[in-house]
Symmetry: C2
Subunit: 696 residues, 2 copies
């Protein structure tokens, strides 16, 4: 529980200093200047007083209790200072300084030492190598942080590993005049984690929106749990950087953390209902609207404009984002026709004209608020000198305060001359932006969030007809034998045990058995070589398809026996399935998080078009359907050009059986069902590989 960290009654600064440009001075100054409601205890060997506040030689000399201690001393002195804090009964330590894991093994050892001692004392650590926290709650006013932008109270709370990014966001809010609720940057994050901070923000009543910046997740499972819980309570807007290999490399070098180019973070965002951004300016703009506006109930926007071009731009943004701009009802049109100027355009967008005053704007806004088929209001508001812009702003604010539908405003003005108008909107909680695209993107973010939160992904279906023990035994045996790739027999047995349908198969060891198997399976058949030493069958000419009689099977096997002269040579005889549509289902273990499951259409679509969809296990029925429908080439599966579609329900089931298989058997590192042949009725795996973890 981080309550004492974010709402301390007393803060000490070990390493407090009278030197103006030192961090030890700045933290004391920030606490004083921001009006911290608790006690401030500078700890300094050199000075009796820092910035007018009595200083102590040691925290042990401080008369009262201490909740939070900043340490701004060289890392080598920190472990001992933590012991002192333990003696004093301190609850939280913020390690602002560097010299820990981020500088190499020696620093990492100090960091580990600190953590061990802190745990012994029941002390929690924020950092090291971090800025600290801020809480603008008027009852607290804790600026426990060495940054330099004075916080204003607000309702958006920021959490980020990177202090630089957190501070940039914090500055943006400060410049927009909308403030921040809480702020935490935890640097190396040796103890207190982002999931913990998320949970705390989730419980904080003053936090309306959470803004998260990450470069990778240390403990994805804990994050997933916290994010699911918190995202159900309030919007989490997030950005993950380090998306490119170069970006990840830069990320890895700048903290002691571990980042990788991972899909998993995006999938966690998707699964937990976090709204994800790839541009931090867009993230900040959106956060402002989330902090004051209701979430729209749908994607249908009503537009009001008093100038043409910006409405064209906004319309482009909306339509490209899948928003709708439906026509107005006859009733609405009649009202507008009566009350707007004759030349006004009474469609959607409503063009009230540049000459429109407060009355015309109000009429248009009221009309949109009353239209059941409209979910949100977008206003282009240019301020010609010949209208009373302030009275227009006041009308917008009045409707806004009813919080019926979200209102987003593109305010095109000279903000110095029209300061009164700007201030009315700002104080009235109307989000305003300087460009039509910017404002329109914010409204699409609100709408996207509505879609995310109303999407019921349901539960993963669990199949009871599976033989988990059998699979465990197969995997155990392969592991025991030190093998990483499973044999064909093992692979097909595992698929069979999980009810994943495969083309009929038998494994044989010579041509005689092969001929017998082929007759039982029924022609045409395929012969595939199977041996521990051969991973890529096709590359060694180990696959021959479309064999129609005994002779063909016999000669094929005998030819392979001679050519691929290796021990343990086996031959998989399998039913040959011509026609049908090739699809691919795969799974890949993701450390600490289960597996990623992949779906795609075989051949060109996967290899060239990169048209594949991933989901995190466990994959629900809704998600499995989404995997199919969100493929670019999805129409191919529905049947086009007179071709037949394939059995999508069967594909959905196989995806979920794969999801259950890899979830039940985390030993499986990679699984590839490639290809699976899908027909109008049946869907059958015809080739599969399984790779298991083996560390010998």
């Amino acid at each position: 529980m981080l309550d004492v960290l974010f709402r301390p009654k007393s803060v000490a600064v070990i390493g407090a200093s009278t030197k103006e440009l030192s961090i030890g001075n700045r933290i004391v100054k920030n606490l004083i200047d921001f009006g911290f409601k608790g006690s401030i205890y500078p700890i300094s060997l050199k000075s009796d007083e820092i910035l007018g506040v009595k200083a102590y030689k040691s925290i042990l000399e401080v008369p009262g209790d201490i909740d939070v201690v900043h340490m701004v001393i060289p890392s080598k002195f920190v472990p001992q200072a933590i012991d002192d804090c333990g003696d004093k009964g301190v609850k939280f330590v913020i390690l602002n300084g560097g010299g820990f894991a981020e500088v190499g093994p020696e620093g990492a050892a100090i960091e580990e030492d600190c953590l061990v001692r802190a745990k012994a004392h029941g002390i929690r650590i924020l950092g090291p190598n971090c800025q600290g926290i801020i809480n603008t709650d008027p009852d607290v006013r804790a600026y426990c942080n060495f940054t330099f932008t004075k916080p204003d109270p607000g309702s958006i709370s920021i959490v980020a590993l990177s202090g630089g990014v957190a501070e940039t966001i914090h500055q943006a809010f400060s410049e927009m005049g909308i403030g921040t609720r809480m702020y935490a940057s935890n640097g190396n994050a040796c103890d207190i984690t982002i999931p913990e901070i998320l949970n705390y923000y989730g419980d904080d009543e003053g936090t309306r929106v959470i803004l998260l910046y990450v470069e990778g997740l240390r403990d994805p499972e804990a994050f997933l749990k916290a994010a699911s819980e918190v995202a159900a309570k309030k919007p989490i807007l997030a950005m993950k950087a380090g998306r490119t290999e170069e970006g990840a490399k830069a990320a890895a070098s700048h903290t002691g953390g571990l980042a990788k180019v991972d899909l998993a973070t995006d999938l966690i965002f998707e699964k937990t209902g976090i709204l994800s951004f790839t541009d931090e300016a867009e993230l900040c703009h959106a956060a402002v609207a989330f902090s004051s506006q209701p979430i729209p109930k749908g994607n249908r926007v009503g537009m009001i404009t008093n100038t043409g071009g910006p409405a064209v731009i906004a319309t482009d943004v909306f339509v490209n984002a899948g928003m709708e701009i439906p026509p107005l009802s006859k009733k609405a049109e009649a009202i507008l026709q009566e009350k707007l100027f004759p030349e006004a355009s009474v469609g959607n967008p409503i063009d009230v004209l540049a000459t429109a005053g407060a009355e015309q704007f109000r009429t248009a806004i009221d009309v949109i608020m009353d239209e059941d088929q409209l979910d949100s209001v977008y206003i282009n508001f240019v301020t010609p000198f010949f209208v009373d812009a302030e009275s227009i702003a006041r009308e917008i604010v009045e409707v806004n305060q009813e919080s019926k539908k979200p209102i987003i405003c593109n305010l095109m003005t000279d903000k110095r001359q029209w300061k009164g108008t700007v201030d009315i909107l700002k104080e009235g909680g109307v989000p305003y932006y300087s460009f039509p695209s910017t404002a329109a993107k914010v409204l699409t973010a609100l709408t996207k969030y509505h879609e995310i939160r109303t999407r019921e992904i349901g539960e993963a279906r669990r199949f009871e007809d599976v033989d988990r023990e059998n699979v465990a035994a197969i995997l155990q045996k392969a592991k025991g034998a030190g093998r990483e790739w499973l044999s064909a027999t093992e692979v097909y047995q595992i698929l069979g045990a999980y009810g994943i349908p495969t083309a009929d198969w038998q494994v044989t060891t010579n041509s005689e058995e092969a001929v017998k198997a082929a007759a039982e399976i029924d022609f045409p058949v395929v012969v595939k070589v199977d041996a521990d030493t051969i991973v890529h069958k096709s590359d060694v000419g180990g696959v021959v398809v479309d064999l129609w009689d005994n002779d063909a099977v016999r000669s094929t096997v005998e030819e392979m026996e001679e050519r691929l002269n290796t021990k343990d040579l086996r031959f998989l005889i399998q039913k040959y399935l011509p026609g049908g549509k090739e699809i691919i289902i795969g799974a890949k273990a993701e450390e600490g998080l289960g597996h990623l499951v992949m779906f795609g259409i075989g051949g060109i679509y996967v290899e060239i078009m990169k048209d594949v969809i991933f989901k995190l296990t466990p994959v629900t029925t809704v998600e499995a359907h989404e995997m199919i429908s969100s493929l670019q080439a999805a129409p191919l599966l529905r049947g086009i050009r007179g071709g037949k579609g394939v059995n999508q329900e069967r594909i959905v089931e196989i995806i979920q059986r794969v999801s259950q298989l890899v979830s039940d058997c985390p030993t499986i590192q990679e699984l590839d069902l490639n290809p699976i042949i899908a027909y109008e009725d049946q869907v059958l795996v015809v080739d599969a590989r399984i790779f298991i973890a083996n560390s010998h």
Copy 2:
């Protein structure tokens, strides 16, 4: 020549007024407040003086010459006023008021009347329904415009049909403190066009960058000519809105203009070397950098940062945009190792650390300037309170003034507290932004512009072996017969006349001829029905492929004769070409602009994946190659999975022959070669349609 419009020595305002909130008052006020260097003549029936300036009852009473006249009177009085201007020898009229083509046929008639009279007098009209112009040249200071944001001198000139968008952009520059050079918004644009204004800005020495906003092009040919000439002299940054059908609808309703969802504008931008944007905020941010920075010579960026996270974000942007962040030379690393702090990271990005001062920053910048393999400098500059940020800013400015490589800065600071630092960068001409993504996108725009300008598209190849007269005769005959779709014979004759290779074909009228033709062509063959009344052959079962003998041909033709019982029934017998790769080449007339030529890979790729590329005629060899290489599915044509590639040189030639054909024969409205079968050696058209303009 618009020189007198943009550099008037005297301006009159017909309809000048003492009423503070009137346009007739505002224009006079703007001229006075901005310090217009010429004479101001308010024309008013009611007042002798407006804002302290002597007013006249009529322009005929004005003692001196008048260059430019604003008209702020009801539209019905404008024609007479134009005649007065003619008598007075006025050169330019700015029609600020509405009531013209934008309100319907009656207004359009007045607009036409004005234009006729103006032409008779040799007067040019800007507008009607427009804001006017601005020229901030200190020798002129013409604020001939009723907007309300006081212009600052700068080097970016703005031209837009939409006053709302132009003003938004102008405000953005004003807020950023970088000013504007010239400004023109021409509303209904009945006379003076955007191409003319572009040409004028092109010749204006004070204009370093041109910023263009359009919603569609009235006269694409004139635009193409002007843009080609001007873009060769200075950067044109442009945005086209009305990209979605809804957006275009909004565009069409807000001016008297004509907008459509067109590819052509993008293709003109591409062909003339205009840098295109889809977000007006990004456009403005980029324009600032273009106005002060040199264009980089390549895509290799050197990064400097004093904080981690923002470098990660910028890296993602760069890599996603195809920029490179190459490693530093050993020599550079050695210099950095010697001069930066020990913990600094001496790779690329160079992390100088938050504690870095002016010396460290300067070292890092100098190193990047000296590295031959780096083309530009990106700086993340956070201003911790413990460093002297102003001295860092001064070093950046000093290097910037050498203009060796572009410098873009992401300045993360509290702009109120660090105003000194901000001002140093601003006055030193260093473009600075508040977010890493924003700054990184600006640098990618500069780099993209370098690529655009250094791309040599060459000339279109002209084939001399074509029979243009023959094609003209065929088209003339079809036109004379009132047909819109050409017959198979005509289509194949036209292709033949332009050297576009087709599968062997003969047109026959009965089964006997068909059998004979098939034997000559050689089996296997295809039978396709051909009749004036049948446009979609496949839909009526009029195509049968893979026929191997006389009987098959005979019975196919006879069956069709019986079933498709229509007059003029003909049968195209064509060589059947199995295997190969299906491709599509098409062309479509674009009014006033020639044709769009399309290339794609047949079937699924065109229909489902929408993977097609368009270019404008005439298509050069470079462009034809680009059409192939920029397809997402391009690897299919190069040969993958052991498959053979196709003859791309032949495809390039066919694209260019098609380009020449439609350019030579503008009657052709649509041409579809679909499919064309491409092999390793030959590339043959197997089906084609041509649609011609016919207005009977």
